[in-house]
Each structure stands twice: as C-alpha cells, then as structure tokens.
C-alpha cells in the first residue's frame, strides 16, 4: 500500500466519522475539527483499525494529533504490505 493510498483511505474514514464541512488535509488537526472529542476519537481509532487491519499502540496514540500523524503511523505499520 502506497502512502498516497493510505492518505486517501484515512481521509475517507475522517469524513465518515466527523461529518464536518472542513477540508481534510494532512495538516488538519484536533483544533480544526470541532467534533473531534474523546468519543469520536475512539470511533475514529476503531474504524481505522478495521479499514487497515491493524491495532494502534495505546501509548503512541497520545502523539497522534493530526490526520498526517495518523497517515505516518499507518504507513510505518502497513507501508510494506500489498
């Protein structure tokens, strides 16, 4: 999976979870999405884990604060797979 594929799929999940009219870019962060609260964070994690068949490390989740951070994390975990 290329980084671009991961980015596009991640954007799709963000649109599905947050349903906001903001433009989703790699720089889009917690401060840009009003509905990005604890509950939606959990829903986001669950959907990303389903879509990319991975499990996030609980203690690294704290550092993921933008869409790009998630793309980098997923690319690191899944980037070498087909």
């Amino acid at each position: 999976m290329t980084r671009e594929d991961i980015k596009n799929n991640t954007i799709s999940v963000f649109k599905e979870v947050f349903k906001e009219t903001v433009e989703f870019r790699e720089s889009t962060g917690i401060e840009d999405i009003k509905s990005w609260d604890s509950l939606n964070h959990i829903i986001l994690i669950k959907r990303l884990e389903e879509v990319f068949t991975l499990q996030f490390d609980l203690f690294k989740l704290i550092d993921l604060k933008s869409l790009g951070d998630f793309v980098d994390y997923i690319y690191f975990e899944k980037g070498n797979e087909d």
């Binding site: 009219t21 604890s38 959990i42 669950k46 490390d57 203690f59 704290i62």
Partner: protein, 496 residues
C-alpha cells in the same frame, strides 16, 4: 484549629514532601506554599474585607492550585472558571456569583472571560517567602460551583467551611490508608466537586498529586500516567474505563492500591472486565450530589465474588459518618428497606441553599425527636436490609454525560432561546456502549441545524452541546401524554 489552618500546618509539616507532579515537574509542599503566598499577597493588595468571591481561570498548573488556597487563606472563596467553556457561560458564572477579581496565569484570556468586566490578576510564576497564618472565620464560604438546573437554568451551589470540614473529617476517618507516600492521580475538571476530592484530602495527608497535561485526550493521559507506575491512588468516572476497555490487554496496573469511582452509575460488568488489570486495588464507589459537598455515601470492596449490586449496577454503599439518608415516596412518606424512592440527605455537608434562586430543594423530617433539614437529591434509590443503598435512576430528566450533570430541560431551553416558540426535545443516547451523548429534535424546523449547533457551541459547556440536531415532522407521545423520547431514539438513533 479549623480546616483552613490545618492545611496551612500540613504544608509546613510536610514541607520536604512532593506535593504535586505537573507535566513531569515535582513541586514540594514548601514550594507550593510559596506559590500560595505569592497569590495571597497580590490578592490582599487588591481586595479588602472577607468572604469575597474570587474567580480562578483553572489552567492545569501549580499556580491554579496555589490560587485556590490563597483565596481561602485570605478569607475569601473560589469561583472556578473553565478555560474550555465558552465566554458567555464563564461570564454568566462570574456575573451570577459576583466575582470581580479573577486569577489567571495568562494575560490573554480572550474567548474565556471579558476583562472589561473584571480585574485580572496575573499569577504566572508568582511566589513569595513571606508567609502568615490564614485569617479565616468559621462562617467562611469555600467555593461556589455551577450545576445544570432542573428548572432549566444553571444553579449556583455555595459550599462553606463547615460543609467541607464535615466531609474531610468523615473521609479521613474512613480512609486512613491515604497518607504520606501515596501518589494520587487528579483526573477531574475544576468546575466539579470531584476535583476537590482528588487534591484536598491528599494535601491534608501529605501525599503527592499527579495532574493531567492539557491539550491531550484525557483517557489517553490517564492511561499513560497510570501505567508509568507513578501513581497508586486513582479516582475516575466509569466512562474513562469504558474508553480504555479496548486496551485492557496492554495495561498492567498491579501497583494501584486504590481505585475510586464516582460521577456515574458503576456497572458491575465494567469492574469485572477490568479486575484482572488492577488485582491489588481496593475499590470504592462514591456517590454524592454537589449540594451535599463532594461525596455522601461510599461502598468499599475488594472481592468481586460477593459484591453488592442491583440490576447490574454496584451499590453506592452507606452514608459517610455525619450524613443521614432517608428515602421518600411522592407524598413525602419515609420508606423502609426494599422500597424505591427519592433519596434525601441531611447533615453538616448539606449546603444552606442555592445562590440567587428561589428554588427550595429541602424537606424537613423529625428523626429521633429532632427536626432535620434534608436535601432532595432527585435520585431514585433503594436500600437493602443491611442498610446499603443502590442507585436506580432519576425523578426528572437529568442525565450524566461522563460524570457531568446535564438537565435536558436546560439544553432544550438554550435551543428555544435561539428559535423562539419552537418545540424542542433533548434525548441522551449511548453513541457507543457506556458512553452517552445528547441529541436534539426540533419539530417542523426549516432553518439550518448546523447553524443552531454552532451557536450552542458558543454558549454551552462541551458536555451539553448536542452531537446532532434532527428536524422531525411531529413528536411521538406516550400513553401518559409525554413526548416519547425512547421512540425518538429508536427511530432516529438506533436505526442509523
């Protein structure tokens, strides 16, 4: 010696101990006391007389805790201002409590508070070695908290020194294991009385308080701090464990000695799921409305095999020493064990009455020849034959969203103020299991629901902002003529 003086001497007695660990930085009791002196000096230069309300913008830093004690040591009382709440809400709090002076560690508080209406006192880094005994009378008020009101507008709950003294005395009697050497995790927002329980009692005991960093998801910070093996006493809302439940296999909390819960009903299944993660901890379930000062009852247990629970919810236990409870029916008759009714609480922890409100939440009963004033909690409970209480539900439309009291009528009123003459119904729904959010239904509304939500974000604390707003052609009704919230939930939320 009164409670405030006890704190003063506790800070001296434990001067070499760590009082706080904030963002990885240790602060001793001696240094904490210097921060208190600094804020107190500034306040006493600005303000005269006693029993003045003093606002504090509660950023998570040592100066905030110091400002709270500086307010008390100088004979005044604390009004918490939440930097995450909207300006309009904070100004209502400041206006209704009469706070004209507000402590802050930041000069730029735009969006939090309007500095044209108050005098901002900057305490960033402020310390002083000049120290003097607290100047406090027994009638001193300690704080005023804002709660969501069953009358549709917020209520202001004043709590005085006598109330807090009664609670602290009872707690220390029942929890002597909280002492110097213990590290307590403070997870609560300063606008709730749960926060007081996480730092007042440890500071009396010479323990250390770990606070959560700002700007991060709370449940993730809690997981990290608990797992670092730095804290051994924790008090949480059950919701936090619900958030962390997917990560149970990654967590090892064998070092936790005490796990306290409060703010919401505690599901037995949640504790059963988590028990193996903290096998050595004693568990306490605390219950109590803000009006009765922090906690009124508690249930302490270790063994899950014989835990007391009703309908899958763990007991709220027995009253703290000095607290009296009765259960009443709709005609104010006192009920015996096994019967469900409204819980009423008496004792020195009960507030004198709401600030600026004609609402009377009290009822009087003669017990053992003495007439006593009881606070009507609005909570429906049952007592078993051994005297243990169990939470069943509410007499009104109040719900708990992650430990915060939310009266649906207050949220409905906020919408009606934006759309006059509209028919509005609020519904609390578990978006995922164990975690509720609010949803608003407006009959025949033709405007933009997104705009309504944006306006509500500017007025209400986060837990009161609806997740979604629906326009409906008409409301369904129950056979008794009330709007059928369950049907709305079924049709619009469960079918999604």
């Amino acid at each position: 010696m009164n409670l405030i003086q006890k704190f003063y001497y506790s800070f001296k007695k434990f001067s070499g101990n760590r009082a706080f660990c904030i963002n990885g930085q240790d602060i001793s009791y001696a240094e904490f006391h210097e921060y208190i002196n600094g804020a107190r000096e500034l306040l006493e230069r600005e303000i005269t007389g006693k029993n003045n309300p003093v606002g504090i913008v509660c950023f998570e830093c040592i100066e905030t805790y110091a400002a709270i004690f500086a307010t008390w040591f100088s004979g005044n009382y604390f009004i918490p201002v939440n930097p995450k709440h909207p300006l309009e809400r904070n100004m209502a709090v400041v206006g209704n409590t009469g706070a004209r002076y507000v402590f802050s560690t930041k000069e730029d508080v735009g969006g939090i508070i309007n500095t044209n209406k108050i005098r901002l006192l900057n305490i960033n880094g402020l310390k002083s070695a000049v120290d003097k005994e607290p100047d406090v009378g027994n009638e001193q008020r300690m704080y005023v908290l804002t709660t969501s009101g069953s009358t549709g507008v917020p209520k202001y709950v004043p709590i005085n020194l006598g109330n807090v003294t009664a609670y602290c005395t009872a707690f220390m009697q029942m929890f002597p294991e909280l002492k110097s050497g213990i590290s307590v995790l403070q997870t609560h927002d300063h606008t709730t009385d749960a926060a007081f329980t996480s730092y007042l009692l440890p500071l009396l005991a010479g323990a250390c308080i770990y606070t959560l960093p700002e700007g991060q998801f709370k449940f993730l910070s809690i997981a990290r701090l608990m797992s670092d093996k730095k804290v051994n006493w924790v008090k949480l809302t059950p919701s936090v464990l619900t958030y962390l439940s997917p990560y149970i296999p990654k967590l090892d909390l064998k070092h936790i000695l005490h796990f306290g819960f409060g703010g919401e009903a505690l599901p037995l299944s949640l504790v059963q799921k988590w028990r193996a993660v903290f096998p050595n901890a004693e568990i306490s379930n605390f219950y109590g409305p803000t009006e009765a000062t922090m906690n009124s009852t508690f249930y302490k247990f270790k063994n899950l095999d014989n835990v007391r629970a009703l309908n899958g919810t763990i007991a709220i236990g027995k009253p703290f020493p000095g607290v009296e409870c009765v259960i009443i029916d709709g005609e104010k008759n006192i009920l015996g064990s096994g019967k469900e009714g409204e819980l009423c609480i008496a004792g020195k922890q009960i507030m004198s009455g709401y600030l600026n409100s004609g609402h009377n939440p009290f009822v009087f009963f003669k017990l053992n020849g003495e007439e006593k004033k009881f606070y009507r909690t609005g909570d429906i409970v049952r007592m078993d034959k051994d005297g243990y209480y169990y939470f069943i539900g509410r007499v009104d439309d109040q719900v708990k969203i992650e430990g915060y009291r939310v009266n649906l009528i207050e949220v409905e009123n906020a919408v009606r103020n934006l759309i006059p003459d509209s028919k509005v119904v609020a519904v609390a729904h578990e978006k995922i299991q164990g975690l509720k959010r609010l949803y608003i239904f407006i009959e025949g509304f033709t405007g933009e629901t997104g705009e309504v939500k944006q306006k509500l974000i500017g007025q209400l604390p986060g837990q009161m902002v609806p997740e979604e707003i629906f326009t409906v052609p008409g409301f369904p009704f129950t056979s008794s003529g009330k709007v059928d919230r369950r049907k709305l939930e079924q049709d619009y939320l469960l079918k999604k």
